[in-house]
């Protein structure tokens, strides 16, 4: 019992220290306030809208079918991809503090594991609140009652709670007890069973809507974990039945059994969790230093061990060498990364859907796709090749001017981004059977998005000068976003608008925007050269 008491004390101390930390660094409150304000801004209009409507809107049954089908695909994808990865790797997370202090201590390893699984429960319950909170007003407006919201929440929580111990069990059986072949067969058979059940259910369907009802197959409904989680979500929309409560009971029983099995089987497991703990530690370090996270994930695909880069890259061009070596090791070559085929596929699929379903005109689709891309660009603009370099010493100490270093660093990312944008827009236009006007729009809109990317890439340095501390940049992220948007929109609006008024042509407007973006991008680059002497390398501040 003293072991659990020790761990409880440790976690309570950590929890109290988070509060103490806020007292010591009151400006952290700003970020919490902004976060709460953001949630309130999203929720309030929906709740207010809900009060105004006298009758809840009845939800279209087809939409419910679509939501539940998509939900089933999502949870199955998540569960099976996690379990298949668990055949070789473990994803259970401990901190490096645990590894260095808790593991070598006299506390029993099994108790440490059990405590770790136990404390994930409240964290998961809290973590699942947020998505449900966002969904609640919409669900209430659709006429889904409090009980329905509860079951949807229960479905999310069940998924989050069960996946980690289940993956641990699969890992133990596969790696520690060397039953990988057997476990793989079980997983593959399960997937085939689920797919087969779906197809059998819809064997007589004649249209797309009927295909969606495949999730109601008995083989899926009764299937362990996936079926039970689905039953809870189904109850959210259609009301609870005895099936729902049985599902809930099975989940609780399975969770208890799986956790008990892990507790009993996970002997001498420390080595298995070391790799994951180190990875998480590195990821946190990367996040603190402002280095991009997603690029590391994508870099895993197609990683080559010995990329050959010939030639001499003197002075600032050394950064170009680094980029070429980096991209060659992680993609097809320095121009085409793993996102290129993905961009092509997205363009082809969306184009095909637009053309076959006549959802919108081809130009409308272009604006939607590029709008989403531009939105994502702005949201992720705080991390780039430059921000990653600013956390390392080389950009400060290697010979060359800062202006040239930035150009050397940005040249390939801009080029690769341009290729991806053209791939997505042109393949879309091709599949959507766009007319001449659509092709011109595709080219123009691609150039607009590419120049925004160029502009944002050069604005990072200004952000680092205005807010040198990484914490400040995090706190004032929304403010920086607004400034960035203004820097992009005002010159583009003035020049583009001016040209439009002069020539009464949309083409002139677009060209004006492109010219403004390039101009502001170059100005920011020039400005960065002047500002560079004010920047200092900050490791963990």
């Amino acid at each position: 019992m003293t072991d659990y008491l020790q761990m409880l004390r440790l976690d309570l101390r950590k929890l109290i220290n988070y509060i103490v930390e806020i007292k010591r660094t009151p400006k952290k409150l700003i970020s919490y306030f902004l976060f709460l304000a953001w949630i309130a801004l999203i929720l309030l209009p929906q709740f207010m809208g809900n009060k105004k409507s006298t009758l809840p809107q009845q939800m279209n049954p087809t939409i419910i079918q679509a939501i539940l089908s998509a939900y089933l695909l999502l949870i199955s994808g998540l569960i099976f991809s996690t379990l298949i990865s668990s055949l070789k790797k473990l994803y259970f997370t401990f901190s490096m503090g645990d590894v260095n202090l808790l593991f070598p201590s006299p506390l029993e390893p099994q108790r440490i594991l059990f405590w770790s699984m136990l404390k994930k429960i409240p964290a998961t319950l809290l973590g699942a609140v947020l998505p449900v909170l966002f969904l609640t007003p919409t669900l209430l407006r659709w006429g889904i009652g409090t009980q329905g919201v509860f079951f949807i929440y229960a479905s999310f929580v069940s998924l989050a709670l069960i996946i980690s111990p289940l993956a641990f069990l699969i890992f133990l059986l596969s790696v520690r007890y060397q039953k990988e072949g057997w476990m793989r067969s079980v997983l593959v058979c399960s997937i085939l069973w689920l797919v087969g059940s779906w197809l059998w259910q819809v064997r007589e369907s004649t249209n797309l809507v009927d295909l969606l009802t495949g999730y109601q197959a008995v083989g899926i409904w009764q299937f362990p974990v996936v079926g039970w989680i689905l039953r809870l979500a189904y109850a959210g929309f259609n009301g609870a039945s005895s099936d729902t409560y049985w599902g809930l009971l099975w989940i609780v029983l399975t969770l208890s059994l799986v956790s008990f099995a892990v507790y009993r089987l996970a002997k001498d497991y420390y080595e298995d969790v070391l790799g994951r703990a180190e990875k998480m530690y590195e990821a946190r370090k990367r996040a603190k230093s402002g280095r991009p996270q997603f690029s590391e994930v994508f870099a895993k695909f197609g990683r080559k061990n010995k990329p050959a880069v010939k030639g001499t890259y003197a002075g600032s061009r050394a950064f170009l060498f680094k980029q070429i070596a980096n991209y060659r090791s992680a993609g097809l070559n320095e121009y085409l990364g793993v996102l290129a085929p993905l961009a092509l596929a997205v363009g082809l699929v969306v184009g095909f859907l637009v053309s076959s379903k006549s959802i919108m005109d081809p130009s409308g689709g272009l604006f939607t796709i590029n709008g989403i891309i531009a939105y994502m660009l702005i949201l992720t603009s705080s991390t780039s090749s430059i921000s990653a370099e600013l956390a390392l010493p080389y950009i400060y100490v290697l010979p060359g001017t800062f202006y040239k270093k930035v150009l050397a660093l940005n040249a390939l990312p801009v080029l690769r981004f341009a290729i991806n944008i053209f791939l997505i827009n042109l393949s879309y236009t091709l599949m959507a059977k766009g007319d001449k006007e659509a092709w011109v729009t595709a080219v123009i809109i691609s150039l607009m998005v590419i120049t925004v990317y160029f502009e944002l890439g050069n604005s990072v340095i200004v952000g680092n000068v205005l807010l040198p501390s990484a914490l400040d940049r995090k706190l004032f992220f929304p403010l920086m976003l607004m400034i960035q948007i203004l820097v992009i929109v005002i010159p583009a609006g003035v020049i583009g608008g001016g040209l439009y008024l002069s020539f009464q042509s949309e083409l002139a407007l677009a060209l004006g925007i492109i010219v403004a973006n390039v101009g502001v991008g170059l100005l920011l680059l020039r400005f960065s050269e002047k500002l560079f002497s004010y920047i200092e390398m900050r490791e963990y501040t």
Partner: protein, 246 residues
């Protein structure tokens, strides 16, 4: 079982191997440490020093072989109660203060009346004024000092120190050397992996030299000098000689 053969020793390692995929990091090692001994673990980078220590303290599973700490099987509660580990990289709990780390360790090792000793250690390593700081606010050297304090304050009979001098300033290295001598005088057993040879030259009873996962030399400095036929050689010279490629 090796218990009978190694009765009375603090650490007994027999036929220990550790493989990572196809790479043999530690290859059929046999050695023992007696109670009260200070033994230096030397070897070039990648020799398997950290892997060996991690296997002993239970962070890695040996592929083959047996390890007993004070007669207890590696990884057992009794073995952990007897030993403490200071890792190569001082990764601690970011959200605990310096003092709370010591509180946690002494709680886990069930050490009573530890406060005076803890204060003495923190003052010796000149981080007493940081005792209420979160460790995330400490420099790497300060975290290393705290990590050492955590190891010592546990009052364990056997200490495994993996590169304990990395990141320490010269004064702290000198203090650590004195501390090792003090622990030796108290009868504690220390197994120290290091690349810094000067500080341990005078405090180690003997050294074990690893290369490519195998023990290539072991014994007291005098023994090794004698084996090499160089009676006045320093530990550094002995190390360079025994690890030189054929």
């Amino acid at each position: 079982m090796i218990e009978a053969n190694y009765a009375g020793t603090m650490l007994a390692v027999q036929n220990l191997s550790k493989k990572f995929g196809k790479h043999m990091a530690v290859d059929r090692l046999n050695f023992s440490l007696h109670s009260g001994e200070v033994v230096g673990l030397l070897g070039p980078n990648g020799a398997g020093k950290s892997t060996l220590i991690k296997c002993i303290v239970g962070l890695l599973r040996p592929t083959n072989g047996e390890i007993l700490i004070n007669g207890h099987i590696r990884g057992s509660r009794a073995a952990r109660q007897t030993s403490a580990y200071v890792p190569e990289i001082p990764q601690l709990y970011d959200m605990l203060t310096v003092w709370q780390h010591l509180q946690f360790i002494t709680g886990a090792y069930e050490v009573k009346q530890w406060e005076e000793k803890a204060e003495e250690l923190l003052k010796m390593f000149e981080i007493w004024d940081k005792k209420d700081e979160f460790t995330k606010a400490l420099s790497k050297g300060m975290r290393q000092k705290l990590s050492l304090c955590c190891g010592v304050v546990s009052n364990a009979q056997m200490l495994f120190l993996d590169e304990p001098m990395v990141g320490l300033d010269p004064k702290a290295i000198k203090n650590l050397k004195n501390l090792i001598q003090e622990l030796k005088d108290e009868g504690k057993t220390l197994f120290i992996s290091t690349h810094l040879l000067d500080p341990i030259e005078t405090v180690c009873n003997r050294v074990i030299v690893l290369k490519k996962g195998k023990i290539i030399a072991q014994g007291s400095l005098e023994d090794l000098r004698h084996q090499l036929g160089e009676e006045n050689a320093s530990l550094e010279e002995v190390f360079l000689e025994v690890t030189a490629d054929d």
